[in-house]
Amino acid sequence: MKQPSPRALLGKLFGGSAKGIAVEKSLITGYAQVGGKAVCVIGTCNGTYIGNEAALVLAAHVIDCIERHPRTPIVMLVDSAGQEPNRLDEMLGLASYFGHLLSCLEVARRKGHKLITIATGKAIGGAFICYGMFADRIYALDSASVGLMPIAAMSAVTKIPAAVLQKLSKTMPSLEFGAEPFALLGGVEEVWPSKGDTQARLAKAIAAASADDNRAALGKKRGGRKLALDIRNRVLAESAK
């Protein structure tokens, strides 16, 4: 599906208030309004790669929001191919830079900032893990590419024929790539039609957000991830004995 330009997308999500959002080196930082209320915005666009520098830029903006705009909801937009395999970033501790970004978001959560993610483009593997999947509630546009990896890539790495994976994905949505199957697993709360009124949906999502992690329960209810919740609960029950 053809992706809208970053500016067009921001306009769609935040209307005229999108002018308060900067897009630099495919990184999104700024403040805008949703339903007349202020929000902080961080994110990626253009399917960019992210590394140590990008993590610091996004983390700095989260810190700025905590300090200057207490309890303002943070909207995270995800359109990134993830980390570019790079020896220098790895040597300096890419995982630590991402962990730091997550810690900053956790500080925000504890200080009463609601965290909402919208997967707008690529939300694949590490790109989604390093900030977007850490939100209170996670949404995806139906045009977004959400999942661990497409079946062709999974087949190439695991050496399992793509046809076999394709067939199994009919009964195991975890193997299928896309926002809808990801929602069946509980990984996405709701898939939004790109053509719909995303501003109204976002305002509603922010109002409804709570910090409990409901994804395993959703995955069980929707039937895409049947085991996770029960096994977690069994560990909790057995350990209490």
């Binding site: 790895e90 991402f98 850490f134 996770a228």
Partner: protein, 293 residues
Amino acid sequence: MTGTSLFHEQTARQRIAAVVDAGSFVELLPPPERLTSPYLAQLGIPVSFDDGIVIGKAKIGGKKLYIAAQVGQFVGGAVGEIHGAKLTGLFKAAARDRVPCALVIESGGVRLHEGSAGEIAITETMRAIFECRAKKVPTIAVIGSDIGAYGGIGILSTCCDFRVMTEHGRLGISGPIVIEKWMGKKAYDSSNRALVWKTSGGKTKYLLGDADALVHDDAGAVREAIGKLLAKSSPVTLKNAKARQAALAKRLKRFGKTENPDDVWKGMGVRDIAAASLASGPEFVALAKTGRK
């Protein structure tokens, strides 16, 4: 089973047995429960009774802890739905009971054969780790195997309060083979073991401050390091986040264009690179002491 005591050569079960007080380990959801991966079964790949992770309660020096160890031999210690749910449950139990939790890592990250389920599971475990940290319940990642902590598990390890590493342990996201494929052999030769370990190994991570302890490749040393951390925590506060932001920015500014890891070592105060390369655990720490301050 091989009669060795080298930590990196031990299996997950041997590591737990050697690290905790003798006889104190009680496994949760043990092998007779037969919680095996339906994904692997469907794909015709052998399953394992513990799905590649051993979890339970134990004691170190008489103090209670929850402990988990990943089985690197089983699909690279990778995280699938069951594996991840066991781990999430364990950290949630630790938060509930206010008992420290240690994770002995040996994993390349998400189990590709289970698609997005493992990816979500890793982020659920991250949320559970931060539940512990909100209650000042210590969370400790131990990284001391050849497989190391990579992909989503590399990121997850950095969510814990502390990381205990041995020089065998490696911490990162993309492994050397992936980077070599991407950048070319000239930029990163994955068969150059010295370079690989100086890029992602315990010594470099310790120097930069991403590992909190660097110990000998020995279960006794790992046990001692975990024991020391059981009463500590690293609070998730704005003040700490700001200090970390400054430190990581400084690191990037100083070394962002540094190609040779030896120059990072020198920059961190290691004077004798050859001696430091040969030194192990505490001896390396002693050589590095000035630099890390």
